[in-house]
């Protein structure tokens, strides 16, 4: 079923990025960030989104594999811990999450505005030709 195929795709993305990113940065420092992005995020993007292994539908909201990576990082920090620790650390993590999320929303609002302006300029050029 497509649902289980999606789970596998998201599982793979979360696993490879979370497990191996640290190895790159440990060996190569900041350069490891670029290398890890190229060798981990790149192939995962190719499988999951370019060939749509996670089966995002065209008329549905786009669920990025970044969600799986984010949840994986969260789970790694919370698994095997006491419930009180888990609840407390999620509560104290809310400020970071909220401001990061607000930034993301404003970023895409800016991107939508930019795309609209680019589209207007392109159609203006086409009419003038």
């Amino acid at each position: 079923m497509k649902f289980f195929k999606s789970i596998i795709g998201y599982f793979l993305a979360g696993f490879t990025v979370t497990m191996f990113w640290g190895k790159f940065t440990l060996s190569f420092g900041l350069l490891g960030g670029w290398l890890a992005a190229f060798f981990l995020v790149g192939p995962m993007w190719y499988i999951n989104h370019h060939h749509n292994f996670v089966s995002n539908k065209k008329d549905a909201v786009f669920i990025d594999m970044g969600l799986a990576i984010a949840v994986c990082n969260l789970t790694v920090g919370l698994a095997d811990k006491k419930l009180s620790y888990q609840i407390n650390s999620i509560y104290t993590a809310l400020p970071t999450l909220i401001f990061l999320g607000l930034g993301a929303v404003c970023g895409v609002v800016a991107a939508l505005y930019a795309e609209k302006q680019i589209y207007k300029l392109k159609t203006k050029d086409k009419i003038n030709e």
């Binding site: 497509k2 649902f3 999606s6 789970i7 795709g9 998201y10 599982f11 793979l12 979360g14 696993f15 979370t18 497990m19 900041l30 960030g33 890890a36 992005a37 790149g42 993007w45 190719y46 989104h49 370019h50 996670v54 539908k57 008329d59 549905a60 909201v61 786009f62 669920i63 990025d64 594999m65 970044g66 969600l67 799986a68 990576i69 984010a70 949840v71 994986c72 990082n73 969260l74 789970t75 790694v76 920090g77 919370l78 650390s89 999620i90 104290t92 809310l94 970071t96 999450l97 401001f99 990061l100 999320g101 930034g103 993301a104 929303v105 970023g107 895409v108 991107a111 939508l112 795309e115």
Partner: protein, 114 residues
């Protein structure tokens, strides 16, 4: 979380999701799948260095549990298509699949590194 950290966390998320939406698809259109690899390195790599890598990283971690910049990618990706009118209802299977896949991979990594 002091005020400077609030602003840098916000800006780190904003710049990252802005670049993701504006640059990635264009690189794929121009260079195909290698464009995607290039976009991964240029956008995710550079933003990781700014958000997490440098000692004065932009994304401030207010808790002991790690809040990755991929949250910004995920929320940005969802909101971008949502604001363009795509259906959230049709995306619920993938939403569940991403959450479940993330939890399972986290538990698996925990199991491997014990």
């Amino acid at each position: 979380m002091n005020n400077i950290s609030i602003v840098t966390t916000f800006l780190g998320g904003m710049v990252f999701s802005f670049l993701l939406q504006v640059i990635w698809a264009r690189l794929v259109r121009k260079f195909g799948s290698f464009g995607g690899m290039l976009a991964a390195m240029l956008i995710s790599g550079t933003m990781w260095i700014l958000n997490h890598g440098i000692s004065r990283h932009l994304v401030y971690q207010s808790s002991s549990v790690w809040i990755d910049m991929s949250w910004a990618a995920a929320i940005g990706g969802i909101c971008f298509s949502l604001f363009m009118g795509k259906s959230l209802k049709k995306a619920t299977p993938n939403l569940f699949a991403a959450t479940i896949g993330g939890i399972l991979s986290g538990l698996f990594i925990n199991f491997l590194t014990k």
